[in-house]
């Protein structure tokens, strides 16, 4: 299977372990003080800083173009200045220590400024006679307080801030400004505040769920890498260097179980593959024999009886290699057949490096004949046997694709 270019970077496992080492060796450092699980919120808060700058720029532009229509330009400038000051502070905080932005006091301050702006809104514009409504200066900036509250504290605090801002804008708009025609405008503004609170809180909830899952997956991967580099290496050393057969046996079994856990084994499948895996496990318990099973993913599906027969025959061949041939390793190989003259679908071989035996002298009563030939020929398959002291024994199977009993 071809991997994307990312697959070339084979060292992340290793470097991940190193990063952890480095962090452990330098316990003190301001960056470490921020808990890892808040990184999502910090990212969002940095985004909100950008939002503040956009809205404050817009307010400044609006102020400049409508300066002739304002009744109290001085108050407008002071209001803008306060909002600007908070925006600048939040920028510095986000850059240096984002933890500041997550304090309730920061959110409360921003909400208060928002409330103030909305209340002043009426004063700034108060007394204008034109029918057309003017752009209200702080219209969008206070949203940032709702977003921050939603990002850090969740839905309820965000709704509280939204409610506070909505109430202020009602008061500012209706009482001070006395705008009789602004019901719709103020109503939609309030609706937007509430929607921003709900929307952001929901999105944050989803994001934090996703980020929890991602960090869990990453932790699993790192653990696998650590086990891979440490424990498997140790098991390999024990298997290689110890003379204690029981210890070696234990190490081998642990090695196998750990591999199965880390990379998975095909044993969950039924039929042929399951039978091979089961036989391999059985043989590994009782004999000093390594079974290598090479079954590709693109094998065509076999009918249940063929699957069963092939599984049994392969298991028998593996057991034979272990019991009689004194083999050190067995390779079970299978591949799909495309244009087999007999129409078979799958080829499979079981090869060992054992002592071999004389095929012709083999008596018909021996287990091999009975258990292997009968099984495979019973489902319309073909068996071949090759054996010599030099190359060991190989049992070959051609199965599938033809109706049972036909040959």
């Amino acid at each position: 299977m071809v991997q994307p270019p990312g697959a070339q970077l084979n060292t992340p496992c290793r470097s991940a372990t190193y990063a952890a080492d480095v962090a452990a060796s330098q316990p003190s450092g301001p960056a470490d003080l921020v808990p890892l699980d808040r990184s999502l919120e910090i990212g969002v808060l940095r985004g909100i800083v950008a939002y503040r700058w956009l809205t404050i720029s817009w307010a400044a532009v609006a102020l400049f173009f409508q300066r002739d229509h304002l009744t109290r330009t001085g108050i407008a400038l002071v209001a803008l200045g306060v909002a600007l000051a908070f925006t600048a502070w939040s920028t510095l905080a986000a850059r240096n220590d984002a933890g500041w932005l997550m304090r309730p006091a920061a959110v409360a301050t921003e909400a208060s400024i928002g409330v103030g702006l909305l209340l002043l809104d009426g004063v700034i514009w108060g007394g204008i006679e034109e029918q057309t409504r003017r752009q209200s200066l702080p219209w969008a900036w206070p949203h940032a307080a709702i977003l921050s509250a939603a990002a850090v504290f969740g839905m309820r605090p965000a709704l509280a801030v939204a409610g506070l801002l909505a109430a202020s804008s009602w008061w500012g708009e209706l009482e001070v400004r006395g705008g009789q025609d602004s019901w719709v405008g103020v109503g939609s503004k309030s609706a937007l505040y509430v929607l921003a609170a709900i929307g952001t809180a929901l999105v944050m909830r989803r994001l934090s769920e996703a980020s929890t899952q991602i960090s869990a997956a990453r932790a699993r991967e790192e653990m696998a890498a650590t086990l891979h580099d440490g424990v498997l290496q140790t098991l390999a050393v024990i298997q290689r260097r110890s003379d204690d057969t029981e210890l070696v046996d234990l190490a081998r079994r642990q090695d196998r179980d750990l591999r199965a856990h880390l990379w998975g084994t095909p044993e969950a499948d039924s039929g042929f593959e399951a039978a091979v895996a089961a036989a391999a496990r059985r043989v590994a318990e009782g004999y000093d024999l390594a079974v290598q099973s090479l079954l590709p993913e693109d094998l065509p599906p076999l009918t249940a009886d063929v699957d069963h027969a092939l599984g049994g025959a392969v298991a028998e061949a593996i057991t034979n290699a272990a019991k009689h041939a004194q083999a050190g390793r067995v390779v079970v190989y299978a591949e799909p057949l495309e244009d087999d003259p007999d129409g078979h679908l799958v080829f499979c071989s079981v090869n060992d490096n054992g002592t071999g035996f004389d095929v012709d002298a083999m008596s018909p009563g021996r287990g091999l004949r009975h258990s292997i030939h009968d099984r495979i020929e019973g489902v319309g398959g073909r068996v071949e046997l090759a054996s010599s002291p030099e190359t060991g024994t190989e049992v070959r199977f051609w199965v599938g694709g033809r109706s049972p009993g036909h040959g």
Partner: protein, 209 residues
């Protein structure tokens, strides 16, 4: 290849205990001329000692076995010795230019034989690697004869995958062992090429220049 009485080996692995274990396993036909604990040290040792063979772990600091194979695969025969059975690791190692890929669970006898062969220029190709390559080419199903495997190459690969030695394969196919080795070498070259093209295609699709 000159006649080898002693194969000069560099062992690269970040575990000291593993290096001393392998050193003990190699026996008298091999001389360990250098040890390295990371990719950089391994490359330095190769440049200094000009060994016949480099036994190299896959996961090491400083770039790992893949970096060693990529940067010194032409200068020395790099055999990757790893605990990883992951398909990706196998194929990446071959693509990077490794001359062989063996598992650390390989029996000492088999390890010695494989390394001896690798030192003499034989491509060390384990049955599992052969099976993977076969599957890979089946998936590619290229129509161009240059990219796909020839019938003979596929036959050779099937035999390797089934666990046969080059000698046995030669006897069965009525060709010399040298010819079998050449086939295997060509297969590796094609695999390398296919993989490169596949990566380029992938990069173009994703819009990476």
């Amino acid at each position: 290849m000159a006649e080898l009485n002693h194969v000069r080996v560099v062992i690269a692995d970040d575990h000291t205990i593993w290096r001393s274990g392998v050193r003990a396993d190699l026996g008298e036909n091999f001389t360990v001329v250098g040890e390295a604990a990371d990719a950089g040290e391994a490359i330095a040792a190769i440049d200094r000692e000009k060994p016949d063979l480099v036994l190299c772990d896959l996961h090491m600091p400083d770039g790992g076995g893949l970096r060693v194979a990529r940067e010194r695969g032409e200068a020395a025969k790099i055999v990757i010795l790893t605990v990883s059975e992951a398909e990706r690791d196998l194929l990446d190692a071959v693509s990077a230019g490794a001359a062989g890929y063996l598992l650390k669970s390989t029996e000492p006898d088999e390890l010695r034989i494989s390394l001896w062969k690798a030192a003499q220029g034989e491509p060390v190709f384990s049955p599992s690697l052969a099976a993977l390559v076969l599957t890979e080419f089946r998936r590619l199903k290229t129509s161009s004869p240059d990219e796909g495997l020839s019938t003979r190459e596929r036959e050779v690969l099937q035999h390797v995958a089934r666990g046969h030695t080059y000698k046995a394969i030669g006897e069965e196919l009525f060709i010399s062992q040298k010819t079998v080795e050449n086939h295997v070498r060509n297969i590796l070259k094609k695999l390398h090429l296919n993989r490169k093209q596949e990566l380029i295609r992938y990069a173009l699709e994703k819009g990476i220049e």
